[in-house]
Symmetry: C3
Subunit: 306 residues, 3 copies
Amino acid sequence: MTLQHIVESQQFTVPLLMEFFKRTEDMRKIVRRGGTRDFESKILASLFYKPSTRTRFSFEAAMHRLGGRVISTEEATEFSSEIEGGTLEDTIRIISNFCDAIVLRHNQEGGAKRAAEVSSVPIINAGDGTGGQHPTQALLDLYTIYNECNKLDGLSVALIGALDYGRTARSLAYLLSKFDRTKLYFIAPEEMQIKPDILEHLDENGVVYELLSNPEKIIANVDVVYQTRIDHSRLQSKNIELTHYNIDANVLKRMKSDAIIMHPLPRSVEIDPAVDSDPRAAYFRQARNGLLVRMALLTMLFDQDY
Amino acid sequence: MTLQHIVESQQFTVPLLMEFFKRTEDMRKIVRRGGTRDFESKILASLFYKPSTRTRFSFEAAMHRLGGRVISTEEATEFSSEIEGGTLEDTIRIISNFCDAIVLRHNQEGGAKRAAEVSSVPIINAGDGTGGQHPTQALLDLYTIYNECNKLDGLSVALIGALDYGRTARSLAYLLSKFDRTKLYFIAPEEMQIKPDILEHLDENGVVYELLSNPEKIIANVDVVYQTRIDHSRLQSKNIELTHYNIDANVLKRMKSDAIIMHPLPRSVEIDPAVDSDPRAAYFRQARNGLLVRMALLTMLFDQDY
Amino acid sequence: MTLQHIVESQQFTVPLLMEFFKRTEDMRKIVRRGGTRDFESKILASLFYKPSTRTRFSFEAAMHRLGGRVISTEEATEFSSEIEGGTLEDTIRIISNFCDAIVLRHNQEGGAKRAAEVSSVPIINAGDGTGGQHPTQALLDLYTIYNECNKLDGLSVALIGALDYGRTARSLAYLLSKFDRTKLYFIAPEEMQIKPDILEHLDENGVVYELLSNPEKIIANVDVVYQTRIDHSRLQSKNIELTHYNIDANVLKRMKSDAIIMHPLPRSVEIDPAVDSDPRAAYFRQARNGLLVRMALLTMLFDQDY
């Protein structure tokens, strides 16, 4: 099972996810051994129209750990004027001559798809627009749950924060709907609740969910708390208190001893640094998985077995 | 025959061009085999005072395909304030200690020459100022004609667009003047015609040319259409219609079946995307040659035979 | 003797400095042989919140000459908004998962120390804030004196320029205080003299020094002239003439035949380019040492013997 491009989470069927998990585990061993030289003659191009150092570094480090080479833009400002003229396509046609894969962060929804249509090498979507996709983040979130909880069926997951614009929460809800007996709790101020399209998708797939304005009722029962960014000033402008939408020692006390807390990072006020030392705080392990997940995806794109 | 620096097109004699063509062909084979490791211990520094992702990527990919290493600036903003003080020279003196060659894009005409005078390693001019040189683009254009037409003597070439500021058209006219029985047609609105210095040079070298305001008369006879950028708003401000200065299906119909269309890219309105699928559209092959040409030039600078 | 992090000059005891000098000499031989492949599986992350191409290039070239790999930010603008929230720590926690060492230029004093407290890999301070440290520059200055003068005891050193904000002059004074019979002359306009904290430190360590407003009296006797940047417009606003605070042919004439002139570069008006060709002009050799010094420090951080 191989991949031609990575454009959106929807590409990933359950068998493909299983293959991906297996490869991610393999990468853990490979990193422990100091990486491989297998992709010594391969070049990855990082084409970022907007800077995102962490995402870019995780892809570039992944390529290096596999022995590969990287050419990189931190911010492809040169191109900003061209986007109007539709020349993302020309840029990709040209750059795909110089490399073996392109990691693209574009500032328009659908940019990665457009790139994939003309590229002669695999395109990896590293985020396209606010309303767009960031599939490798979604895969890393799912892998982290799998790795921490040792299963993906029968999980109770609370998603907390400003869920209306929460790309990561939306993608995770989508991916979790593929597994059996998933229960999802969406916890947000009413005006920031997750949008109906996701709920429709969950209904179609028979996933049980609840919309809540605070986590009181369910926090003691969930296996995963997926905390997302919440803009404090947005809360204040609506006179909403942060209390229900962040994690601190009080929340920790009520959680199950084997539950985990995740966050796509960077965090702001949503997680008290005092939580960091609790073994249930999985967000730094989650960030570390970013390297392994991107290595695994590169091996799938380059169709190299491990 | 080796090179110390690559500063301007004028350095390239016909024998040197032939050597360069041969090496570019060799690079095609080397890329097909997955590159070499020969420059494993060499470092190329990309020093770009203005961003140009495509040019930079083609040099950096060329270095990687030869097994080399790259240190890179996307936009050397730090230096912008120093240019006044004449410290381009000091910067080059320092950076040439850290690497084995420098690719320089500078924002002042003559920057590359100044750099070459103080550098302890080869300087490659990747463009210096609007009125300056960009010799590796000119070489890539000439190689593409050679590769597509299998000859450089006796060619009829139409150069179309805003030729007054057309650095690439000017350089190509210059290089083509070195070959026998070249015929050049400069096709531009009167106020944007090629400047007299180039025409004087052609006269001195006995090259036949014509200045035309539209391609009607000659389009059916030329071997190469070298289309360059034309600023649509500049045309509109002068009430000039685009019609004569762009390529579309109608122009294609009238061209010879073995003629080619070139463009330095990125393009704007000058070439209708419908032209892309015609085998005579050579501009993406031209862009691809950029990799091979830069590899060949690096092997000449490092004096490494193939 | 190994190093965990390089945060400030004060870490370096005399025995550690001697070890560092020895390794720097070893690196000279290694560079002459074309570098090593020893760090082939190691990744250095350059995390620069403010651009500094020369410093960044010297670290990245050092890593490449040791066979290593680099991931790099030219200007981590993305993070600028996060600094408020204290998330330098989170950024370092995340990025240290992707690499084997981090070179950090931060815009706040103390940034490197904060990074070292949470990083899982070595942190190298490449400058933190105007009032902060830049220890590898200080080490490179000290090594250059050692290499040029073949000793560090009994040296007379003149430090010239705007010494009040002169980070490099301050650090060098500090390091020289560790050696026997050092004599220091601080030459600056009264309002730009070195700050009392350094003088107190010298008093405590029994170092002989003098504060002077011009070099007349001592220029013929010193072994080292350490010239630093001086802002010409700042001088002019105070009606101070540049004459006493720059190096030209007249100053050269009065210096000892075996004295040296150093400068952290880039220079402005402080050194007349006519001085460059004098063998006593050591500033370009000093810049070149930057590569060797950073290679040596990397070998110490990675605990690799040579």
